[in-house]
């Protein structure tokens, strides 16, 4: 079976989360999306990815300044209209960004992200190599 492309994997995940508004693989350094799937075209995925990557940088900087340089294992941001979840990929500057509506439970989304993190990482590596 041929390996799914990163878009296909992201689309598959999005299809499994009813409240998924967008999902992306983002470079935390630049804020640029490597790949993004947005079931709802009205959302500004690029903007969400860019600001979310800034969140990573700020948290990282804060922990450095606090003399507690712990790596970030994940972020969950609950906003007024959406929930933003992300997990960084190990040994990489990229993170997986998932945005859902407020009705989707965080635990469910996280479980699916854990389930699909392997395939997403593989497909990402295929693109980056």
């Amino acid at each position: 079976m041929s390996q799914l492309s990163i878009f296909e994997v992201l689309q598959q995940v999005a299809n499994n989360i009813p409240g998924c508004l967008m999902t992306s693989v983002v470079d935390a350094d630049s804020g640029m999306s490597l790949a993004s799937v947005t079931p709802d075209d009205a959302v500004d995925a690029a903007s969400a990815d860019a600001f979310h990557s800034d969140l990573y940088r700020l948290v990282h900087r804060s922990m450095q300044m606090l003399d507690s340089p712990q790596a970030v294992d994940g972020l969950v941001l609950v906003g007024e209209h959406a929930i933003f979840l992300s997990i960084p990929f190990p040994n990489s500057t990229y993170f997986w960004h998932m945005v859902t509506d407020l009705d989707t439970t965080v635990g469910f989304t996280q479980a699916l992200m854990r389930k699909y993190s392997g395939p997403v990482m593989q497909s990402m590596s295929a693109v980056l190599v």
Partner: protein, 582 residues
């Protein structure tokens, strides 16, 4: 050696002042700092006698914030404001935070020199008679002003001492009794002499409870004793005062006297059969203005004029009013000001050697006997060593007017805990009430903050909510509130050297701001409500306190049950919101 700290962003001005302000005085050292942050560090580290600072300064700590913080870290430092923005508003703000010296840029160095010399050479403190004080009020005053002092008390053959260390009551003796019990005994007294000493050595600590608890317990016991003796307010209130006798008299070191008297609600001295009568006119020591000023002096200056400040304000007042429930209002015109003269019956002090000739700035009052002597039953006092920002009283002739300078007697804050008179756009922000680095491991908040008084009074406070929240998790490393506007810590409990409150607040304010942007990124609106940052070991949780400019933050260590932590944070967020909106 006197030390003067000058804080201004203009480095050339600093250089000029450092070289030319007082070059001929070897006993005066001029230190400079080019930012509020540096100035604050120096205030903490050096023993500063006079702080001269600009108002408008870049950075997180501007002049007003520096001054307000100075009240905490260097309460004895006198402050001179210099600014090129000499608006009435700034003068008004300066007055309201108790700053008596104000100089507009540009100024001649000689003007500033005169101000500094006047401040250094002048005997510190105000002189005058304070009447109708409760001992509880005196203790509160010293605690709120974070004073370090030894208060001697004498009642007939009894001797007592209360030691205050930076606003904490740390030790007390009364005859052979020590600790809390000694304080309770003294609070039950109705008359005697007191004398306040500021240079003393004390290595003993026999009191480990907060002063608010101490006072409340003392009052409770007094009330119980009073009830046991079958006294009621009506029987007491019918007593009349002997105008020539003051139940308590005493001397404040170097300068004056204090005579104290209890309002009728306090328990009479059990062994006092001298027939000294209580007054029905036992007024509270604190006028509205004085109350605000005292709180301002000792207050941690939580900066914004919001509901929180109002809550503290009302709660503090409630507590103090509770202490003077039978008291009538103090008429400053008729009682306080005329009492500031040698006509006061102060000769009964048992500390004659400590008494000094008093000089009064008002010749009229010095030459006239007290036209309306202190009613018995009130605690009257001559307190000359008190800081002017602690005891705010208009004494126009003591003000110094220099060319190019406006000197004012201190005013009062209308909202303790906030920068009074500040509009929303002028808010000082959530000025950190605490010095997390200076407090050791005991917590980052100040014992004498009004928040603590809220606890003592049983009113829901952010502190108590945060404490309860912290107690929910043994993994709690630090939790508190910071201002979303400027990242200044407002109130923190628990303490982790790894997460100092001010640094945590400053950096995670940026994180919160970015979270806000992210939240609004999808559709252009919406703000962040909650953020969970999962780290290798710890978890940082942040949640906006609804309808306030504050963010609740908590850092929890390994092993925390994240789901429960999130849920609890939401619940406690509601409680915090109630505190602010009360």
């Amino acid at each position: 050696m006197h030390q003067i700290l000058i804080v201004d962003e203009e480095e050339h001005l600093l250089w000029a002042l450092e070289k030319n302000l007082l070059p001929e005085r070897d006993d005066i050292r001029v230190i400079t700092a080019s930012s509020g942050e540096l100035g604050l560090d120096l205030l903490r580290d050096e023993n500063i006698d006079v702080l001269i600072c600009d108002i408008k300064m870049p950075g997180r700590v501007d002049g007003f914030q520096l001054i307000l913080r100075a009240k905490e870290v260097a309460p004895d430092a006198r402050v001179v404001i210099m600014t090129a923005f000499g608006t009435n508003r700034i003068q008004n703000l300066a007055e309201r935070i108790g700053i008596t010296h104000y100089i507009e840029k540009p100024f001649n160095i000689s003007d500033l020199r005169n101000v500094v010399l006047e401040l250094l050479d002048a005997k510190e403190g105000f002189q005058g008679v304070l009447s109708d004080l409760e001992l509880t009020d005196i203790i509160q005053m010293l605690c709120l002003a974070k004073r370090t002092a030894l208060l001697h008390l004498k009642h007939k053959d009894h001797r007592g001492k209360i030691v205050f260390e930076r606003g904490d009551v740390t030790h007390a003796e009364f005859d052979d009794v020590e600790g809390d019990a000694a304080v309770y005994r003294m609070l039950a007294l109705r008359q005697g002499d007191i004398y306040m000493q500021s240079d003393f050595q004390n290595d003993k600590r026999t009191i480990h409870v907060g002063w608010q608890d101490l006072l409340l317990e003392g009052v409770r016991r007094a009330d119980e004793n009073r009830a046991e003796m079958g006294l009621d307010d009506s029987s007491v209130s019918e007593d009349t005062s002997d105008p020539n006798t003051s139940p308590f008299t005493g001397v404040f070191e170097d300068s004056g006297e204090i005579s104290l008297g209890m309002p009728p609600r306090l328990v009479p001295d059990m062994d006092d059969n001298l027939g000294l009568e209580e007054s029905s006119a036992g007024a509270s020591f604190f006028t509205e203005e004085e109350l605000s000023e005292i709180e301002a002096a000792g207050d941690d200056i939580s900066g914004t004029a919001n509901g929180f400040d109002r809550l503290e304000d009302s709660a503090v007042r409630k507590l103090i009013e509770k202490h003077a429930s039978n008291a009538q209002g103090l008429d400053e015109e008729s009682e306080f000001v005329p009492a500031m003269g040698p006509g006061r019956p102060t000769d009964s002090s048992d500390f004659p050697a400590q008494r000094r000739d008093q000089t009064y700035s008002e010749p009229a009052s010095a030459s006239q006997p007290d036209p309306k002597p202190t009613p018995m039953g009130g605690i009257s006092a001559v307190a000359s060593h008190a800081q002017p920002d602690v005891i705010a009283q208009e004494i126009p002739s003591t003000s110094t007017i220099q060319p190019g300078m406006t000197t004012r007697t201190s005013g009062a804050w209308s909202k303790p805990g906030a920068a009074p008179g500040l509009g929303a756009e002028e808010s000082l922000g959530g000025v950190e009430p605490n010095d997390p680095r200076g407090m050791g491991s005991g917590g980052v908040t100040r014992e004498s903050s009004p928040t603590m008084m809220l606890e003592a009074s049983g009113i829901l406070s952010t502190r108590s909510v945060l404490n309860d929240f912290a107690r929910e998790f043994k993994e709690m490393l630090v939790t508190g509130l910071f201002s979303f506007d400027d990242g200044l810590a407002l109130d923190f409990v628990e303490n982790s050297p790894q997460y100092p409150a001010d640094v945590l607040s400053a950096f995670f304010r940026d994180v919160a701001a970015c979270a806000d942007q992210t939240s609004s990124s999808l559709r252009g609106d919406g703000e962040f409500i909650e953020l969970q940052v999962m780290l290798e070991r710890d978890v940082v949780l942040m949640r906006r306190v609804a309808m306030t400019p504050y963010v609740h933050i908590a850092v929890l260590g390994q092993g925390v049950r994240l789901g429960i932590a999130i849920v609890m944070m939401r619940r406690y967020g509601d409680k915090l919101a109630k505190c602010f909106n009360a």
